[in-house]
Amino acid sequence: MKDLIREYPRFIWRCFRLSFVGDWKYYTWMFTLSVIALFGLNAYAKQFVQGLGTTGLTDQVSWGLYIANFTYLVGVAAAAVMLVIPVYVYKNKELHNLVIFGELLAVVAIIMCLLFIMADLGRPDRFHHMLLRFNFPISILTWDVIALNGYLLLNLHICGYLIYCAYNKRTPTKKFYIPFVFIAIAWAISIHTVTAFLYSGLGARPFWNSAVIAPRFLASAFAAGPALIILTLQVIKASTGYPVSEKAIKTLKGIVTIALGINMFLLGSEVFTEFYTGTAHSVSARYLFFGLDGNAALVPWIWSAIALNTFALVALLTPMSKKRWILNAACVAMIVGIWIEKGMGLIVPAFVPSPIGELVEYVPTMNEILVCTGIWAFGLLIYTILVRVTIPVLYGELTVDTVYHTEPEPKLKTTAGVTP
């Protein structure tokens, strides 16, 4: 215990120092992300002073890009479980050394989720009211607070424990992390289910008030999340030489294909129910897919999402995707396609028209977009740092015994820790 108190801060400090070491590509990447993140911070500072009037939100469309990104990222966080289940339940060997990158991605995705929520709050200075009067279990939002923070803690513990053991050259003690891994599996499902219930629990919004929202969320998350991991792993391999086997990519590809297929099926079910019955409740769906009275801001978005997802599904189901660049293109297509489907395609249309029939469209402002890109850049920044320090630790290059110079000059020819 005494050792831990002395050694742990040293470990954190060394990781911090290490995050500043890299080649020019690493520096360029980190510099670019920092600049975008700072533009986001600047935009947020403006919003903090002037209020949410700096966004395109209105009383009619009261949630927009922030909540859309939040929803998407909850899915990315939950998707880590698609690496965890094969490894810990089915003892998949290929993914064994990669599962940590999924868990780190979950940590970062949850941090980004929390940032998006903070950005969306009108009174972030009163966030502590959550602790003082927590409307649990009545408000689903309080469930989401517990689910997200619990998932963050679980993954921080699992990743932190495994990495710290590697740093100390110890074999991890199973009872300290295996139970948490299994709790995290169930918890991952719960975070996205609870997030879906935020929407589907509202009788005022027929577009959301559908039992298929939670399954759809999970399916789209288990497609987009592992697709992001496929791309990330390739970048990690290319930039650090960390071994990523072809079989691992193939396993993930299989998961993505099935999840995307299920997602398209559920979307189809939703579309059928909305349009075949044609009740007054399908007015938001009509707005989304075809526009209403000449208002059609979302129509190009949803059809591009469908086109992208269809392309991805066709590519994955045919031998085309044996070519790596086609697989990657399919991954990019579904990451973007599902982002649109969940954001512009699911959050915004529920507000159009308003519950009393007023049709007001939503167009995000530049300031709002800058805040969003800033949070994304910040998330990528943390993820890069986490991967960058994790790899040497897993390689046994940075351990408790490593002699430590205070003044290292990075070897400029080698590359390190660059992620997409």
């Binding site: 060394r14 120092r17 290490l18 070491v21 080649d23 920092s34 700072l38 600047n42 500072a45 903090f48 002073v49 002037q50 209020g51 949410l52 009037g53 009383d59 009619q60 009261s62 949630w63 709050l121 009108g122 009174r123 200075d125 009163r126 009211h129 959550m130 003082l132 009067r133 927590f134 409307n135 009545i138 408000s139 939002l141 607070v145 629990g201 509202l202 009788g203 005022a204 650090t240 030489g241 007015v283 529920a350 507000f351 519950p355 009393i356 029939g357 790899i391 290059e397 490593t402 002699v403 430590y404 110079h405 205070t406 003044e407 290292p408 000059e409 070897k411 400029l412 080698t414 390190a416």
Partner: protein, 348 residues
């Protein structure tokens, strides 16, 4: 392939920056050059963060952030003394900003009272006088103007609000081919907005009015998404009210000035109605279309209306059990003598 970490360079190896090997083989500490470089980078980073945060300098309004506000308790947790000091603080803020000393109180619900509203669609002529009387009474922001009441111009032959026109504009009302349907907070007995609030900043009072503690709301707008009647409004910017327009008769849970970033909504003018007066929207109505009162009182107008008229609520299917009822007169509405040619008021 080997990853670079801090100590992986062999002595004598070129470091690629042209400064030779001396810097870290003979002296593991900081060199002047790296000190300068690192210092410049750190300074640059701090400067960049400071520059990004520079809009915060415009935060001059001390009323928005104060210790007293930060530690103020939830409405239901404040005792008499704490409420008194909160009311004093609010009075001071109002006086400072609007040069008016308000008469602000915390008015409690009366026993044995449950308020309901009944609106006669046969009589409403869509003049929007209620919309503006409400704004005057309740100290809503004028820029941008926040309104609690939305009047729909409905084509005859339907009660489908999707077909209503929100932005009708005519020299006079009513229009012969239309009838008019004002919508405001329905003060539901099963309010979805209260259910979803994560911090209990909004709740239903014993007299049936759903209120908001403006000092407790965190501005997540979940209630706004949950309301089937689009009754809630959010302060997207700092509310602006001209000094001469302030209504100094205020209460904590109703019409005291709101802050940026919080929700607000109709509260049945509780600072008036809990003292036996009628809501502002009712008093201004030129046709008597609006009826308000205690449904528990068998002699009240609203009770008689509920017992005798053809009453309906909006969206009964969402199960919210509104306390806001619409009805048509029993008499033949086509030959009904209602005022005609009344000058209407604009949207804003």
């Amino acid at each position: 392939m080997k990853l670079p970490i801090m100590n992986n360079q062999e002595p004598g190896e070129q470091d690629g920056c042209g400064c030779g090997t001396r810097s870290y083989t003979t002296r593991p500490g900081m060199t002047r050059r790296s000190f300068l470089r690192r210092g410049t980078a750190a300074t640059g980073a701090v400067a960049a963060i400071a520059a990004s945060l520079s809009p915060l300098r415009e935060l001059t309004d001390t009323d928005d952030f104060s210790v007293a506000k930060f530690i103020q308790k939830h409405y239901k947790e404040m005792d008499g003394k704490e409420m008194a000091s909160a009311l004093t603080r609010i009075s001071n803020e109002v006086e400072k900003r609007y040069d008016v000393r308000p008469n602000i109180r915390d008015i409690k619900p009366m026993d044995g009272v449950e308020f309901v509203y009944a609106l006669n669609l046969t009589r409403c002529i869509g003049c929007r006088k209620c919309v503006h009387a409400c704004v005057e009474e309740n100290n809503q922001s004028r820029s941008p103007e926040i309104q609690y009441i939305r009047v729909l111009e409905m084509p005859r032959g339907t009660t489908d609000i999707e077909q209503g026109n929100h932005h009708y504009d005519r020299p006079t009302v009513p229009d012969e081919d239309h009838y008019y349907m004002p919508i405001q907070c329905h003060q539901c007995a099963n309010p979805p907005c209260v259910k979803v609030c994560p911090v209990e900043a909004t709740w239903q009072e014993p007299d049936g009015i759903t209120v908001i503690d403006y000092d407790w709301c965190i501005g997540c707008r979940y209630c706004e998404a949950a309301c089937p009647y689009w009754a809630r409004r959010f302060n997207f910017t700092k509310p602006e009210i001209p000094k001469e327009k302030i209504n100094p008769n205020m209460s904590y849970l109703s019409n005291r000035p709101r802050q940026k970033g919080v929700m607000e909504k109709c509260h049945f003018c509780l600072h008036r109605t809990r003292e036996g007066k009628m809501p502002a929207c009712l008093e201004v109505c030129p046709t008597g279309a609006r009826k308000f009162g205690n449904v528990l009182d068998p002699e009240s107008d609203v009770r008689k209306i509920l017992e005798t008229k053809r009453v309906f609520v909006l969206k009964a299917d969402v199960g919210t059990l509104p306390r806001f009822f619409y009805y048509f007169d029993e008499r033949d509405p086509i030959n009904e003598k209602v005022p005609t040619g009344v000058p209407m008021e604009g949207e804003s």
